[in-house]
């Protein structure tokens, strides 16, 4: 198989186009003066960097704990509520991080119900009488971000757990090894890492939560340099550091598992039946699964619902329905586009590319590591260049949509690629060779062999992307055409002034719009995994 062929070359070119805005950011970073650096190094940068790393460490660890534990429990054991948890554990994915940060502050701050209740019980007079953890802190950010980000880990890991062949568990039982540590964890590693990578990239690029909690991370630094010191290039330089942190992390992981094999030798396997357990374990597992669900879904939704019921929300049904339709349509179109691209890119990268092309495709999915607004500025600059060269005069609206979908692709390709790649690593390469020896073309092989085997992964990625675009704010805000509102921008016009009460109705609709697909997804995965096994 030559690595320069009709598959890899176009895909390489597409990758190059996708990363162009990132190159525009680099260009702007290189162009800029570096006179700010001594100032930044001696003042804020060490603090920003430390906070960023601590936040990544915290959110990464907690998301792994939430995600892997629940994924293992629901795919291995029979306990009350298990079949509900299976899909319900995904619900927090539909809650935007900026909304959860706000609801938690409302709940836990001095004037909130929790502290008010405590004061009443213990008869405390004011804040000097007692100590209460401040939710607007690094720990608070770790908690709220993990409780909405763990579904990435949960979803990908579970998809991997339910397809584990029974023979491996039998073998581990014979040798008296614990099935979780000896089999499940090592084999699910690509999926776990893919989920973790998404969580970390989301953490590193988050602006809403860290801004609201006033945590000084590199992202906050990016905006201070850009808007406070009027230095876009300085901001681009800091963003590039963020980018390289992510690229290094991902590369290390790739190197670490380069020579490992995650696929099964025999393709037809029976899957494990659910295990019966003691009542005590049932209760324990029930609680383990309930905690992340309460933290990431029940609490924020209750707070929002409370606002609506109290009449704080602006309820304009026709406006919200209009924006919901726009939101859902654009999310659908964009997520379909992204998954289609992702599938082709990952397949070509795996079977048809040389190292250079692989790196290009890999880099194309790193846009996720940039703060959304910076990425949007990168797109703006790139489109500006194109305009200078080609002078294409598209209709303003159509042009606006193409640009918006392009920007979503750049930002969320990582999710698509991550979930598809974790599926492809589990396909036995002999299957592909067999298909090719039987004279089938690469296209047919792709359609008849790889597509069905990664179907669940495509769905998983597609729904995650869909829900993410539904929530997406900074890119939509800057790149949209005139008079164009999505649910997220609609919520933002209030939330940006810390008036989330007014927008609580629309915020609930964002969550609601994400629920349908999430539940559908969970059903399909289950059906599909029982069918193939």
């Amino acid at each position: 198989m030559s690595s320069w062929n009709i598959w890899s070359v176009p895909v390489g070119i597409i990758s190059l186009i996708i990363i162009s805005p990132v190159l525009a950011i680099f260009y702007s970073a290189l162009l800029g003066d570096t006179t700010l650096w001594p100032h930044l190094f001696s003042t804020v940068l060490p603090r920003y960097l430390l906070n960023t790393l601590l936040l990544m460490l915290g959110v990464g660890s907690l998301s792994l704990v939430f995600g892997i534990s629940t994924a293992w429990l629901v795919s291995r054991y029979e306990f009350p509520g298990r079949s509900i948890f299976e899909w319900a554990l995904l619900l927090p994915a539909a809650v935007p991080a900026y909304i959860i940060a706000y609801t938690y502050t409302d709940l836990l701050e001095y004037a909130g119900p929790v502290q008010g209740y405590l004061r009443e019980i213990f008869n405390w007079q004011n804040s000097q009488d007692y100590w209460f953890p401040n939710i607007r802190s690094l720990e608070g950010a770790v908690l709220v971000m993990s409780s909405v980000l763990y579904p990435y880990v949960y979803l990908l890991t579970r998809a991997s757990f339910i397809t584990l062949p029974i023979s491996y568990f039998q073998t581990s039982a014979i040798y008296g090894r614990k099935p979780f540590f000896a089999v499940a964890l090592p084999l699910a590693r690509p999926a776990i890492i893919a989920g973790l990578a998404l969580v970390l990239m989301e953490t590193i690029s988050d602006f809403g939560t860290v801004d609201y909690f006033a945590i000084e991370t590199l992202t906050l630094g990016v905006f201070n340099v850009w808007l406070g010191m009027n230095s876009l290039s300085g901001a681009a330089q800091i963003s590039s550091i963020l980018f390289f942190i992510v690229v290094i992390l991902l590369t290390l992981e790739l190197i670490a598992r380069r020579n490992q094999r995650f696929y099964e030798k025999h393709s037809r396997q029976e899957s494990q039946d659910l295990e019966e357990i003691s009542n005590f374990q049932k209760i324990l597992f029930f609680i383990t699964c309930l905690i992340p669900l309460i933290l990431g879904f029940i609490i924020p939704v209750s707070v929002l619902l409370n606002f609506v019921l109290k009449g704080y929300a602006v309820v304009n049904i026709s406006e919200v329905v209009d924006t919901a339709i726009t939101s859902i349509s654009i999310s659908f179109v964009a997520s379909t586009t992204i998954m289609l691209l992702s599938f082709v890119m990952v397949v070509v990268a795996t079977y048809k590319s040389n190292t250079f092309q692989k790196s290009l495709i890999f880099l194309a999915s790193c846009g996720y590591a940039f703060p959304g607004t910076i990425l949007a500025v990168g797109v703006v600059v790139f489109v500006g260049w194109l305009n200078d060269i080609f002078y294409f005069q598209m209709s303003y609206f159509i042009g606006g949509f193409v640009v918006l979908i392009f920007a979503y692709t750049l930002r969320f390709l990582a999710i698509g690629n991550g979930s598809i790649r974790s599926g492809i690593t589990r396909i036995n390469p002999n299957l592909i060779d067999a298909s090719r020896t039987m004279g089938r073309s690469f296209l047919t092989t792709m359609k008849k062999v790889i597509l069905p085997l990664t179907y669940t992964n495509i769905l998983v990625g597609g729904i995650l992307v869909f829900v993410d675009i539904l929530k997406e704010l900074p890119i939509t805000l800057l790149l949209r055409p005139f008079n164009f509102e999505t649910l997220a921008t609609y919520v933002y016009q209030y939330a940006s002034d810390e008036m989330l009460e007014e927008s609580s109705f629309a915020a609930l609709i964002i969550i609601l719009a994400g629920l349908g697909p999430v539940i559908f997804l969970s059903r399909t995965i289950k059906k599909y995994s029982t069918k193939t096994n």
Partner: protein
């Protein structure tokens, strides 16, 4: 597969038809840093009187970069910002055109517009102190400089220093007292803070109400928004527990900042854009600014609303607002150094 493709195509078409609006002949396109809920009533009023349709794109960050990159193709006619720093960035990048309009010149005093008439202030706000009614006597603070006094140790609340409003306040102090004094002030202020800077201006007033601190730094209009908040009546209580102090009344006056706008150099609906800008400075619109948003009118012929006047008449810092923009980067560096 083919079926899927057709469906996809149908959805694409659907979306484009959905939002594709036919360009009316009489239109003006606005890029606005200001939130739609605050500015839409003005546009509705403008459309009602003139028949000119206003299209708005709102974003808090990046509109400058968008106009730069769109260049001569930009659909934007008018840019509206909420502070002077962003406005002067547009001027520095040569994106605004000179406008000669008698109405604008008459309605806006010269220190509130660009020397070349490239931008115009549309409303003013003062950055004031909100102090606890119970715990702080009204004459215990006279100047913004007093916030550095050790007697306020652990008693002051502000939002983060690197927010536009605080940066601009610090810039005004640099202009008045020099960089060194300003840095000394900022570092003492940080020592006096009751808690890590967090939240917005309203959250600081709330903290005073709750007893977390005694003195908060705040923009004037937040007071009105709290005092008359029907959606969230709890905020009325916050407003009740604070007094407003205008600072530096015996010397340079209280620091002010402006919201304003300018016409984009490449505007294709220049006349409509100027008409809109003029409209925003006319008495009927200026009254709206003070009635709805609790901002001070720039038009000297328009009295602030009764409510605004009841907060006190004050002397404002006469520093040309452009200086605030020039000094913003210096201010940000100080903020970084003192960790505000």
């Amino acid at each position: 597969m083919k079926n899927y493709f057709l469906k996809l195509l149908a959805i694409f078409c659907f979306i484009f038809c959905f939002v594709e609006t036919v360009y009316a002949k009489s239109e003006v396109n606005v890029y606005s840093y200001r939130q739609p809920i605050l500015i839409d009533p003005f546009f509705d009023e403008f459309t009602k009187t003139t028949g000119i349709k206003v299209n708005v794109l709102h974003a808090k960050k990046g509109l400058l970069e968008r106009v730069i990159s769109e260049g001569a193709n930009t659909p934007a006619d008018l840019v509206l910002t909420v502070d002077i720093a962003r406005l002067s960035q547009f001027v520095q990048n040569d994106l605004l055109m000179e406008v000669s309009s008698d109405i604008l010149n008459k309605n806006i005093p010269s220190h509130l517009r660009d020397s070349n008439n490239k931008w115009f202030a549309l409303s003013k706000r003062a950055r004031i102190l909100a102090v606890s009614k119970d715990r702080v006597s009204n004459n215990s603070i006279k100047n913004i400089e007093d916030l550095a006094d050790p007697k306020w140790r652990g008693k002051i609340c502000t939002r983060p220093g690197s927010h536009d409003y605080n940066r601009s306040l610090l810039a005004s102090i640099i202009a008045a007292n020099g960089e060194e004094k300003a840095e000394e002030w900022a570092s003492n202020l940080v020592l006096n803070l009751a808690r890590k800077p967090e939240g917005n201006d309203r959250a600081q007033a709330k903290a005073v109400h709750e007893g977390v601190c005694d003195v908060a730094v705040m923009n004037t209009y937040y007071f009105g928004k709290m005092k008359f908040n029907e959606k969230n009546p709890e905020q009325k209580e916050w407003a009740k527990s604070i007094n407003l102090i205008f600072t530096n009344q015996d010397n340079r006056g209280n620091h002010i900042n402006v919201a304003g706008g300018g016409i984009v150099k490449y505007s294709q609906n220049k006349d409509n854009a100027i008409a809109l800008l003029e409209f925003l400075t006319k008495p009927e619109a200026q009254v709206l600014y003070s009635k709805m948003n609790y901002e001070y009118p720039v038009n000297p012929n328009v009295e602030p609303s009764e409510e605004l006047s009841s907060w006190g008449v004050f002397i404002e810092d006469q520093l040309p607002v452009e200086r605030l923009a020039e000094l913003a980067p210096t201010a940000q560096k100080i903020i970084d150094r003192v960790g505000w």
